[in-house]
């Protein structure tokens, strides 16, 4: 652990919860505590849970509430260190060497030796920073979001380990870049594969599940301006009902919000079975799921 002296970002757990509420993110009971701990212990948070429950949004909201810059690294298969950490600016290096040669030809004394050039072209001037290095080198407060970390291969995960535990990046030609301030790091995972033990051990683990009834209602009320309380209540009840079915993909919070938005736009005041059936395709994305839910809600499937 590096000994970077820094004031804590958050006063207390309540402060985190209220702060998140102010940026319209309604955290469940555990989330605020884990974010608070992440700051105090200077540990990254690994956020896991079904798609569309606000994992990425959590990082964004924390950045917004603490006034920090969000640096995002979207993971994908085939991500490597030249995309995640740093890369040398080859073109610029080549130009530099060319320029040196020209200078040498003009100046017969041969001013610079090769070692000078080498030292020169592997200096910071020729370094292209990628998200991880950028987050480390930033002098202003930043939140680093490593999104969908389960998409990279197990071997690539190792790239992250140094930065996650020691907040530093080693560049062979240049030395080790140590963080000037410790960024708040969030990793999200959809759990398509088991992450390595080494990665998990370095993180605080937070599982975000579908919210319970009351919280989802609050989320709908907070996120959809002008929605009637009564309608919000009905919406979340129906969504809960649909989630209890065995579906391929249960409706997520973002889909609940889409649905609520649609119903408000349609000027619906109260959802009946027929209305629900006709707008099911907003909540559910598989035809078989839609048919199943429609059957459960009563009546034939919509065309």
């Amino acid at each position: 652990m590096t000994d970077v002296v820094r004031p804590p970002r958050f006063e207390s757990i309540t402060a985190v919860r209220d702060g998140l509420r102010d940026v319209r993110y309604l955290a469940d009971e555990g989330t605020a505590g884990v974010v608070y701990l992440a700051d105090r212990l200077a540990k990254p948070v690994l956020v896991e849970g079904p798609a569309g429950t606000g994992k990425t949004q959590l990082a964004k909201s924390v950045a917004e509430m603490s006034g920090a810059r969000l640096i995002r690294l979207q993971c994908y298969e085939g991500l490597d260190e030249s995309k995640a950490l740093y890369e040398w600016n080859y073109k610029k290096q080549l130009l530099r060497i060319q320029a040196q040669r020209v200078a040498e030809e003009q100046d017969a004394a041969g001013a610079g030796s090769w070692s000078d050039i080498e030292e020169d072209i592997f200096s910071e001037e020729f370094l292209l920073t990628r998200p991880l290095l950028e987050a480390i080198r930033a002098t202003d407060p930043v939140v680093l979001l490593i999104d969908e970390v389960d998409r990279v291969e197990v071997e690539t995960e190792a790239l992250l380990l140094e930065i996650l535990s020691d907040y530093q990046v080693s560049i062979p030609e240049l030395g080790t870049v140590v963080a000037t301030q410790i960024p708040l790091v969030f990793l999200t995972s959809n759990n398509t594969r088991e992450l390595s033990e080494a990665l998990k051990r370095r993180c605080l683990f937070l599982h975000i599940d579908y919210p319970d009834l009351e919280r989802e209602r609050e989320i709908v009320l907070a996120r959809i301006p002008g929605i009637a309380e009564h309608l919000a209540d009905q919406i979340v009840r129906i969504v809960r009902s649909i989630r209890s079915l065995e579906l391929k993909k249960a409706p997520s919070v973002s889909e609940t919000l889409d649905w609520a938005r649609t119903l408000v736009l349609l000027g619906v005041e109260s959802v009946d079975a027929e209305m629900a059936r006709e707008t099911l395709h907003i909540l559910l994305k598989y035809q078989s799921d839609i048919a199943k839910a429609a059957k459960e809600l009563g009546g034939p499937a919509p065309r």
Partner: protein, 500 residues
Amino acid sequence: MSGARLEEGSGGGLVDVLSGFVGELRAAGLPVSMTEHLDAMEAVGQIPLEDRVAFKYALGSTLVKNAAHWRAFETIFDVYFSPLGFIRVSVDDADGGGDRQLARAAELLDAERRDADAEMSALSAEELLELLYRALLAGDEELLAALARQAVDRFAGMEPGRPVGGTYYLYRTLRHLDLDGVRTGLMAASAAAVGVGTGSQDTEDAALSDLGERLVREEFDARIARLRRLIEAEIRRRLVADRGAQAMAKTLRKPLPEDVDFMHATQDELASLRRAIQPLTRRLAVRLARKRRHGRKGPLDFRNTVRHSLSYGGVPAEPKFRYPRPAKPEIVVIADISGSVAAFARFTLQLVHAISGQFSRVRSFVFIDGIDEVTSFFDGVEDISHAVHRVNTEADVIWVDGHSDYGHALETFWTRWGQQVTPRTSVILLGDARNNYHASQAWVVQELAKRARHLYWLNPEPRSYWDTGDSIVSQYGVFCDGVFECRNLRQLERFVEQLA
């Protein structure tokens, strides 16, 4: 507010409790490393100890790194840090004067509860039920909690030192409460007084259209489930007080979903298995697809190498390789679906078909004493559990009496489908090989092994039971490329992965 306080506290009470807690987590099968234990200690030093929720998540986020283990964690947490006991632990541990207030608060809370409970114990049983009914109707959390305490007090008949599990007391309590009757009553009440139950003014939909009724029913179900949990927690709290946390945690120890034994799974465990298998198949499919693509490199692609050498002035500086195209195996699953091993066969069929994309072809056969092909049940079906249900109800697997007869089933398989097994086929036999003392017909397995590429036998029984009683695994096993013990999802997953 620092880690120092923990060590300076009276004899390091919390540190000891935490060590015991971590030990219990490990005993329950959760992988908790040394560093994670230290992290947890550091974490609890950072949070106000009187905040139980924060305390729980501080431990959870540092010790539990798998969402499937959260349930186990919660149970053990409740045993070790029950709400009232929790305040006491943190008070004992504190040495500052400011925490005296906390102690008083705890006492006050205790006293308040005692008052409420005393009031309630004066009620008759009928009045109590009436009160319960009203609490459920209104969804009054506090009243429900008090009622749960009272119900346990009255009906569970708990005696100190009696070696009975918590489920027994739970059963006794619930029997007196007649929750099914209460539920019917609640539904009727909400049908009569429209909209009362939902606590809002939604009159139109609660005119009990189908949808409205469904929603109201679910609301009541949720409240009753909540009551059940309260009662369970109350019983657990009392048992802990009686026997101590460690002993209690031991009796509550349950296997994690991936360790549940197929053959002895309860209804609840089967449900959790069904939930666990879907993400598992998805993970497995992703992993296998990746392995296929990223595995070894193919042989040198000469043409391509020469073509690329042109950009280096004819020097083959960058060798190019062919894409590997490993042949996908063809799978034949032959599964015993008689009573004892049915659950195992079902999960295996489900798993194999869910990742059928990794095989060139999957054919499934099921048998008891007759044998039937069920491949078509899985074709083009999106919902695999539905197909499995059809297998159980529609497949023609009874020949004489519906008792397992491996010999006859295998013989029939050989005469009807044996010729279709080719050197590209991997055959997987599933069953406990309990043959009811029929003829084994092991020659079929021998012939199959000759024709097929691989022949595996998966047995859901523990290895020590093999070849006891009417089990004849080894008679078949000698001809197989491998006989595997496959008692839980973990073992099944491992087998399927090495198969593809």
